[in-house]
Symmetry: C3
Subunit: 390 residues, 3 copies
């Protein structure tokens, strides 16, 4: 690899590229009073997020080659159960004064977190178990949201945690919840069964990845003020650019050849990690966060994942630990040096509470799900779908 120096040059160049931009981004945010964001702006972002939930998460999970019909049907069911249930509970607690489109976006955030959790056990649940998973997940997610963001029980001060794009309460929560479920449920046979992909499933998976990449700025900027929007969306895109290039470089460096699964997944880690500080970071900070997150996530897929299986005795089908778990936590922590006036204790407390609630409730749900039986053939459509020919 005589091109290694060139790689390093690219990486450095990219890193430096952000520096001159450093000065002006922060001026644009938090500048005075925020005019209300219109319903129509909220609406367009809500649709973008829906594209992420269905085509994005859905097709990303199609990488399991014989489980495509199931992954897509499960995605449909998880979205369709979480949105009405979240909206129902929210309207009965927060009240009907909440704006309808804003409530929709909050429910989509919950759906995203659920899809992440489901990714950890993908291919090993029956269809109806995905529905039950969704029903049980939503209240747990809302409990954590209430504790960490809305001052529930007085544990964490309302507004004390900065998590604009959901690194902590959406990504890390979903991943850790999913790990909890997987920890309780993974069977011995499942360790022996390899998860296969092929050229068709790989390309479907890249479609899902690209849809997530494209609309990620709308996810992070869904609820920011119009003043914060420009800097926020550019930050998200720069972080994604950083993680995408870094993923390629680290994947080749660690494995000799590129793994398309690394590209499809770890390229998105910049979006996960910029979440907490997306409205506050400068553009160069965003690039740096993206680069670090891409490296961390690729290292996770290439090195940690196989060891995690042995250490934790669980299989994380989609590697949500590496895409959402670690980069999510990193994003929550990255806010500490970046966000001016952030109460460090509150932010750390929010992270700790999220880890606790997610892990305990995930474990509990992992005990409940097997009461509905177990899928006999992991990672295969044929058990549950008619005419599931190749």
């Amino acid at each position: 690899m005589k091109n290694k120096t060139l790689f390093k040059f690219f990486a450095l160049m990219l890193l430096l590229s952000g520096l001159p931009l450093l000065s002006h981004a922060s001026e644009m945010v938090n500048s005075g009073l925020a005019p209300a964001i219109s319903d129509d702006q909220h609406y367009n972002r809500a649709i973008h997020i829906m594209a992420m939930l269905l085509v994005g998460f859905g097709f990303l999970m199609v990488f399991v080659r014989k489980y495509g019909r199931s992954a897509l049907t499960a995605t449909f069911l998880l979205v369709s159960i979480s949105i009405p249930v979240y909206m129902l509970i929210n309207s009965n607690t927060v009240g009907i004064h909440e704006n309808d489109v804003r409530r929709l976006i909050l429910s989509e955030f919950c759906g995203a977190s659920l899809l992440i959790a489901a990714g950890a056990v993908l291919g090993r649940l029956k269809m109806q178990q995905y529905l039950l998973l969704g029903l049980l997940f939503v209240p747990c997610y809302m409990l954590n949201e209430w504790l960490v963001l809305n001052g529930g029980l007085g544990l964490v001060k309302a507004g004390g945690v900065v998590d604009t794009g959901g690194s902590i309460v959406i990504h890390a929560f979903g991943a850790i919840f999913g790990l909890g479920v997987a920890l309780t449920m993974t069977t011995k046979q499942e360790f022996e069964k390899t998860i296969e992909s092929d050229s068709v499933s790989d390309r479907y998976s890249m479609l899902g990845s690209m849809i997530l990449w494209i609309f990620w700025p709308s996810f992070c900027a869904a609820l920011v003020t119009p003043e914060q929007m420009p800097a926020t969306v550019v930050n998200v895109i720069l972080a994604l650019c950083g993680s995408t290039i870094t993923t390629y470089i680290v994947s080749v460096s660690l494995r000799k050849k590129v793994s398309i699964a690394d590209i499809a997944n770890a390229a998105l880690a910049g979006g996960v990690a910029i979440g907490s500080a997306c409205a506050d970071a400068t553009h160069s900070e965003a690039v740096v966060i993206g680069i670090l997150a891409g490296a961390l996530s690729t290292f996770g897929f290439a090195v940690i994942q196989s060891r995690q299986q042995k250490w934790m005795k669980l299989i994380d089908t989609c590697g949500v630990t590496n895409l959402h778990g670690l980069p999510g936590l990193m994003g929550g922590i990255a806010a500490l040096p970046i966000v001016r006036g952030l109460d460090i204790r509150q932010q750390l407390l929010g992270i700790v509470v999220t880890i606790g609630v997610a892990f305990v409730s995930g474990m509990a749900v992992g005990k409940i799900l097997p009461l509905m039986g177990r899928k006999t053939e992991a990672y295969e459509d044929a058990e549950e779908f008619l005419d599931a020919v190749e």
Copy 2:
């Protein structure tokens, strides 16, 4: 299936989930005078609808495994013929005062209806016949639009029919027109040829389905006022959630295993059926309409379709009867109890006129199309495409 009770529990839970929301949705609609919707809002919805027409309808029809190139090319041609022809006729009748982007949306509605009609005879027309179908369809569609919505001939009072999202004039019209064409054209050989799908075509089909699902709120809310928008889009999403979950439950119940074709199609029935009343229903009514439409549509695919072939002596390739025909009519009728101040006679008259115009004109077009010859190998690209290797 010891999980049947669990299914019922889910269904009931989902049904009830809407009830507490019942009170406040209707307050949001029709509240005073409507500010003009901006060109930019119209524009964003026009693009969303275009995504539905091309990727949505196009890929949904790729389920026929050897006919993918043809289905996508036909989609391109049907959209490209219907939009300019509609805009031309509209600008010469309604006049140039109509806003350009609004006219675009109206022409896209026509394109959607045409794609539905084409779905009934998919795989059995030559490429140039799709073009001719488009040319002949547009004036018929516009005649019905004029009669039912704009007071043409004084048959139905202008504004007397409530059909915001087009359950009647778009979905039912397209499906019945397509049935008319299929009724006249289906040949004996076509009854013997099975329509094959495989794991690749199934996943493409699910992509189309998801794109339709995602952007459906923009279809129904394309022309509503900004005040009506929030409640409308949430209604559409809730109806889709209801039909998606119900489709899964009914598909498993009727067939023992899930049919991915049921999921890809009937999951959308909630969007079809909520069309007429989408701006007027409460959220719980929307959930109920979605559940009923999903059940009706899945029953159609699982039970009615094979009998319809014998009774009506026609093949409906995509099952548009079950996705657009029956749920569309159901949507038009569902408006009766839901929309306050609706003139029941006018609404029923609108439905009857639509059925009549669609069926008669569809039959006539079915007589004209074979004048251009017949496709010899149904459901196969190879006859018309170069190098159409597997």
Copy 3:
């Protein structure tokens, strides 16, 4: 082909369809002072363009059947390198006063042009060479942008060239740059290796094509004033409709059967060619431009491409000459009769400068890239990707 007369009838009908619309479109543009386009409008279009870059260009290039993983990874890398580098240089030259979202759109335009250039040598670069290509392309593109649009060196008067949707500086520039690279780099072995596609890669390619078609109006209207927007987007759609139908007709006429590659590519030529005059043309002019561009592009794919290989001794993998090169130049020239008050000398000068800068810099980059070595197996993933099984 007794249907030929019918084809001609369609073509004529389509052509005439625009005429009655002729009068009123131009009233809508340039009408008095332009209110500032909002950040949110810019933002929505920026996301649409991002969908074109990743899923649009990315999947269009998946037509090479064994090179799908590589084409998609290369797309990710090209976008991720060009956007930050463009933004960095732009913010250090134009200054930080440029609006963040507007700057993002300008950088996406650069990314589009880069993807076009890369299409000419697709399958014959190593992954790291795509990165280097991106690094070298951006300054060349920006040099041309500065010379042709911003009055750099006083060569062309600032504002003297009309190129709203980038026919000249985006499409033609990218295509000619790519040809320059291909001219220098194409090896003998590459002439012997056929570029294979199959039914799966063809359908992926059509997905890319449709995504480009759908969002093309946002590309052309990204920076126009709100007054110009309605006429502009309708013009783009009419041009695309014209080129799509014409592509089908010309493809069948020249080849006896339809080539799906013609459909996936040449159908978009209307969007390329309407670029320069999209905000100024009448609707009927847009239809005519679309029809001519579709015919030119299809003729290019069916007739010119194989001869170009021999004459120019280069392989243009994606046929960017025929989709972006010729229709781009045609679009720049089509502005001459259409745009009122256009300085013909300036417009032609802009075209000539673009051709010169693109070709010379492309040739230079084609000399530099091989310094990083050469891909041994053209058009195949396996050399660079792990487990690249079929």
